[in-house]
Structure formats: structure tokens, C-alpha cells
């Protein structure tokens, strides 16, 4: 079972057991007595601290501004840089490759979590997207603040993660600005290319064993916001993973108007679909309405998500 969950977690979107628990932030109940509380946070100052941050595992108090952050999640590395917390990063995980500066930080392997390795870097805040092997409990026990930020179930929860990281790292204002930029960019596309008047069906392929995304994932929510109808929503999702594996038969029967390939980075192309048994009879393959998405960006939820939204919008525009 654990393997299945890990597989689901890793399937393309690099997202797993999406947690229904909502992540929220609250201001600290009492402002620090020595500082006049100010909404603007100067870099590397403890103004505004302590803060209380809530994640699915509970709430925690961060006493001073973190200066040695370890991000074990490529998504959150991107968010940290985007909200101006890049200077506070002590290390990132091996998959963190964007922005390019992330490659120059010390690296740790988030898929082979090693407590000693992480502690040796003397972090004051660790960010994880998944609790694969008890990372959260281990870091907690070692007295390190650890923030679990699981894959969001919709765009609103994705945007909320910017605010949480802004509060946790003392970059409240710039985080809010980045969140608003992303929100405006994304919603702009939703407004212009909405097809809910004449709904089109689609299939989003996470990998070539036909895993897909349903409406309980942020990607599914993005498609829905365009007014697109997801054929994967018909599949039961017993474990609430958000990533059902569809039958080839079903995809052929539904004959979706559009196919989005989230696995183009793994070598799947519009052309290679024709070689699959019976897929050359699909309308999308015949009509050329198969669209390749950037696998890396489509698998993350962060400052570049507007590019995925733009790709979907481009596809819809090409149709009209």
C-alpha cells in the first residue's frame, strides 16, 4: 500500500495524498514587546515575530525570523525565491532546480531523507510537501520547526501557501504581492478563454500508465475554471489521492475533445499516442487537439503555475 501511495504521490504531478486539512495562518496573539509592530517586514529583522503558523499537523510558533531555511520541496523553493526569501535559504532538495540560483545552494535528497544530514546544516525552518518517511516527527523531535505544505486541492489553497510562507519567513508584504500577481494572471486567462457555454471534455495524462487528475487537485481545479469537463471525474477515488488511474477502454469510449499531456517530459508526445493500441481512432488524435504541457511546471504549484494556465488557454484559443 505504501508503494501505491508513493507511486500516486510521485505520478508526474509529484503530488500525493492531498490533505483535506486546511492550512491557515494567524497573526501572533501578542506582538513582541520590544518592537513596534509594523506590517512591512524589513529583510532579516525580527519585526513581526513571533508568528503562529498552522499546517495540517498542527500549529507552531516561530520566535524569530528564519535565516537558515531548508526546502525539501521544489515547489516551495520556487515560492520562497518568488516572495523574496531566497537569501534566507540554507539548502534545497535535489529536485529544486528553479530559479537557477537554487542550484547553487547546498543540496539534500528529499527522497532519501537523512535527519543527520539535514541537522548538520543547522536549519531554523524546514519546509516539506510530503511526510513520506516520518520527516515531520523526526524534525519535531529534534526541535526544528517544520512546515508541511501538501499539494493544494484548488487554486485558492495554492495561493494561500504564498501567504503562509510569507508569514513564516517574515516576507508578508512581498508574498502578498506575488500571490496577487499570480492570482490576477491566472484569473485573467479564466475570464478570457472560458468555454463553459459549449463545454469541452478533456483527458489530462499524468503518465503513460494513464494516471490522471480529478477535480480535487489544483490542476483539476484549473481545468474546471476554464469550464472544461474532466473525464477523470467519473472514476472513483477511494483513497482520495486525486490521481485516479483510468482504463484505456474508458478514455476511448469517452473520446475526449482535448488531451493534455502532463508527461511530455517523460517522452510522451502527440505523435507517440498514435502508436498506442486503438488510440489512432480518438478524435483528439485525429484532429490534432493533443497538447503537451511542461511536465515540470505542471507538476508543481507555485509562481510559474500561470504558465500552465497560459498553455491551456493557448490550446483553447487554437481551437476557436
Amino acid at each position: 500500500m505504501r508503494r501505491l501511495l508513493l507511486l500516486l504521490a510521485l505520478s508526474g504531478a509529484l503530488a500525493g495524498c492531498s490533505d483535506s486539512a486546511q492550512t491557515t495562518t494567524q497573526p501572533a496573539p501578542t506582538p513582541p514587546p520590544t518592537q513596534a509592530s509594523s506590517p512591512t517586514t524589513a529583510p532579516l529583522s525580527d519585526a513581526g515575530f513571533p508568528v503562529i503558523v498552522v499546517d495540517p499537523t498542527g500549529s507552531m510558533t516561530i520566535m524569530t525570523q528564519p535565516r537558515r531555511i531548508i526546502s525539501l520541496s521544489a515547489t516551495h523553493t520556487e515560492i520562497l525565491y518568488a516572495i523574496g526569501a531566497g537569501d534566507q535559504i540554507a539548502a534545497t532538495d535535489l529536485t529544486s532546480n528553479y530559479p537557477p540560483e537554487a542550484n547553487d545552494t547546498p543540496k539534500v535528497d528529499s527522497f532519501a531523507f537523512n535527519l543527520e544530514e539535514v541537522l548538520a546544516l543547522q536549519p531554523d525552518l524546514v519546509i516539506v510537501a510530503f511526510d513520506f518517511s516520518g520527516e515531520v516527527a523526526a524534525l519535531d523531535a529534534a526541535g526544528v520547526n517544520v512546515l508541511l505544505m501538501p499539494p493544494p486541492t484548488d487554486v485558492a489553497k495554492m495561493l494561500l501557501q504564498f501567504d503562509i510562507l510569507g508569514t513564516a519567513t517574515g516576507n508578508v508584504v512581498s508574498a502578498r504581492a506575488e500571490r496577487d500577481r499570480l492570482k490576477t494572471a491566472i484569473e485573467g486567462f479564466f475570464d478570457v478563454y472560458n468555454v463553459s457555454d459549449s463545454p469541452l471534455t478533456f483527458f489530462h495524462e499524468v503518465d503513460d500508465t494513464l494516471f490522471s487528475v480529478n477535480g480535487t487537485t489544483f490542476l483539476g481545479d484549473i481545468y474546471e475554471s476554464f469550464g472544461l469537463v474532466n473525464i477523470a471525474d467519473a472514476a472513483p477515488d477511494e483513497f482520495g489521492s486525486g490521481f485516479p488511474q483510468l482504463s484505456a477502454e474508458f478514455i476511448l469510449q469517452e473520446d475526449p475533445d482535448l488531451i493534455f499531456l502532463g508527461d511530455s517530459g517523460f517522452g510522451v508526445t502527440a505523435g507517440s499516442l498514435e502508436e498506442r493500441p486503438a488510440w489512432d481512432s480518438l478524435s483528439a488524435v485525429i484532429n490534432g487537439t493533443v497538447f503537451e504541457l511542461d511536465t515540470e511546471i505542471a507538476g508543481r504549484w507555485g509562481p510559474r503555475t500561470d504558465q500552465v494556465v497560459r498553455s491551456i488557454a493557448d490550446a483553447l484559443e487554437a481551437l476557436s
Binding site: 510521485l10 535535489l94 500508465t209 477511494e238 476511448l252 486503438a278
Partner: protein, 331 residues
């Protein structure tokens, strides 16, 4: 024999008739008739529906049957040749070797959609068993116990190598796991063509050895006094079973428990002579895996459940029953 034939036929019929795409049984029946020589009738299926039937559902049933029969007969043969009720086709390292071969291809960024992956898995599986055989052959006389222990060691070693390679990147982990859980979900006639020659060769070789397995079942010493060279029989049977199991693993990933539960079910129902166990396992294995795959694609329809999960879910409780019976017999 008739009963198992009927079982296979019923499983195949169900497998072809039932699936996530709603094709009516009547249309399917007429469409099947249409394919007979000299018969031309219009089933009313659209071109795409016919493609679903002929290019997805039917090859999947055929491949499920082939893989199931090969795993079951290899498992039965292994149990006979090692006189060990817990032997399965993966005993001497087939699974670990295939896993390493597949992982190396995936990690090296090779093309995982073509023939490279099954070829590497096949080579890895055969290599693991050869190493086991070589390692288990120290000392003057090779016996089945040292061979099994060598298999355990080799399998652990190959699994360790495989894990080491796979952990190097997230993409590798993802693809390896989807391979390990067994994949009948995206197969077609290509996989059937790939497996068929090995399956036939392996099944024929094992079926001819079924009398020798009965002799061996009496004991190695006794077999030797009857003029049967236990060591030669074992080498031949292991080679044949490995060839088939490796080919099956290469096209469909790891499918647990079929090789154990089917031969034991046959043994309980039809007695312990390998003359009947081998052919009956071949048939019952086909029927069992076709039915398991039917569950895999209907329980969460239109979603898929990995086939390895279904066989383990059915297989594990059954396995416990067998263990309890075996323990009860000793008291």
C-alpha cells in the same frame, strides 16, 4: 480437466464481455462471429468500439491468460523440483533480476515504451537465476536447500542494487513503481507477440518433464536409484520455468502470488501428482489471472487498480490458509 477448461472459457468470456466501455454482449458476440472465416455480419459497433474490443480488451484478456498460465505452471514446477510448497517462480531471483534490468533502463533514460524495457528485464531475470545457480553450486553436491538459500542472497543483492539505482531521481522512482506493481493496463498485441514464443517453449518443456517431477517428489536419493539424475532434471526444469517467468515478468511487471496459490488450489482439488498439477495449473492460472484482471479494471471502473494489488489481496489470505493447513498436517 474438463472443469478447468470450462473455468478458463468462462473467465475468458467474462473478460471479453465486461469492461469499462459499455459494449453490449450481443454486439460483442456478433462482432466475434464476424471474425470467423466465411461469416460476415454487421455487429453495429462503431469503428472506435471495434478498436476498443480488438485492440484493447481482447489482447488484454489473452495476455492475462498467458501470463497467468506461465506463472502458475512455473510455480508448480518450482514447488516440485525444490519439494518446497512455498516456492514460486520468483524464488531464485527472477523478480529481483528483472527489477534491476528494468530500473537500469529507466534510470539511464532509455525509451520505456518500446522493446528495450522488456528485453532488459528479461536479461536481468535470467542473469539473476544464472548467478544463483552458480553461487548455489559450491561443494560436491548441489542440493535444493543450498540453491534456495543462494536464491535468497542473490535476490536481496539484486534488490539492493535496484533500490540504489532507483533512488537517484524522483522520475526513476515513479516509473519503477508503476512497473513493479504490474502493468496489464496498457498492453496490446505487441506484448502478446513478445511473450508467446517463450510461453509456448517454456510450457511445452515443463509439460514433458511432469513425470520426472513425480519421480523427484519421492526424494533425490530415491530418484537417483531409479536412474533419474535429480540434478539434471532440476537444471532443465529451472531453466524452462525461468525462461517463461522471466518473459512474463518482462512484459507485465511483477504479479505476486499467482505462482503459489494456483498450484496449491489445483493440488487441493485434484491431488498431488505432477502429471495433473502441471497441465491443470497452466489452465487454472490463465483463468485466475483473467478474472483478477477483470477485477482490476472493474472494481474502480472507469479507474484501474494495479493487477499486483488484486492478486496479492486475494492471494495473501489464501496463502495464510495454506500455511495453516500445512501446520495442521504436521501435528
Amino acid at each position: 480437466m474438463l472443469a478447468t477448461l470450462a473455468f478458463v472459457a468462462a473467465a475468458a468470456a467474462l473478460g471479453v464481455l465486461v469492461g469499462p466501455a459499455s459494449l453490449s454482449p450481443r454486439e460483442i458476440f456478433v462482432e466475434l462471429l464476424d471474425r470467423l472465416p466465411l461469416v460476415q455480419v454487421d455487429s453495429g459497433l462503431s469503428e472506435r468500439q471495434a478498436a476498443i474490443l480488438w485492440q484493447i480488451r481482447v489482447p488484454r484478456v489473452v495476455l492475462g491468460g498467458l501470463v497467468g498460465s506461465i506463472l502458475a505452471i512455473s510455480g508448480a514446477a518450482y514447488q516440485g523440483v525444490f519439494r518446497n510448497p512455498l516456492a514460486d517462480p520468483y524464488l531464485l531471483g527472477v523478480a529481483a533480476g528483472a527489477g534491476l534490468g528494468a530500473t537500469l533502463v529507466i534510470a539511464a533514460g532509455g525509451d520505456t515504451t518500446g522493446l528495450l524495457l522488456p528485453a532488459a528485464a528479461f536479461l536481468g531475470a535470467v542473469m539473476a537465476v544464472v548467478v544463483t545457480y552458480a553461487a548455489g553450486g559450491f561443494g560436491k553436491r548441489r542440493n535444493s536447500a543450498t540453491l534456495i538459500l543462494a536464491g535468497v542472497a542473490v535476490a536481496s543483492f539484486f534488490t539492493a542494487l535496484q533500490t540504489f539505482v532507483q533512488q537517484r531521481s524522483a522520475d526513476t522512482v515513479r516509473e519503477v513503481f508503476s512497473w513493479i506493481l504490474g502493468r496489464l493496463a496498457t498492453v496490446g498485441w505487441d506484448e502478446v507477440r513478445l511473450l508467446l514464443p517463450y510461453a509456448v517453449a517454456s510450457a511445452v518443456a515443463l509439460l514433458v518433464s511432469r513425470r520426472l517431477l513425480d519421480v523427484l517428489a519421492v526424494g533425490e536419493e530415491e530418484a537417483n536409484t531409479l536412474g533419474v539424475r535429480a540434478e539434471h532434471v532440476r537444471l532443465f526444469v529451472v531453466a524452462a520455468a525461468t525462461l517463461g517467468a522471466a518473459a512474463a515478468v518482462a512484459v507485465s511487471g511483477l504479479i505476486a502470488f499467482v505462482g503459489i496459490i494456483v498450484p496449491h488450489a489445483v493440488r487441493m482439488l485434484f491431488g498431488s501428482s505432477y502429471r495433473s498439477i502441471l497441465p491443470l495449473s497452466l489452465l487454472a492460472g490463465a483463468g485466475f489471472l483473467v478474472l483478477a484482471d477483470l477485477l482490476a479494471r472493474t472494481v474502480l471502473s472507469p479507474g484501474e487498480l494495479p493487477i499486483g494489488v488484486v492478486t496479492a489481496f486475494v492471494g495473501a489470505p489464501f496463502f495464510i490458509v495454506i500455511l495453516r493447513r500445512a501446520l495442521g498436517g504436521q501435528q
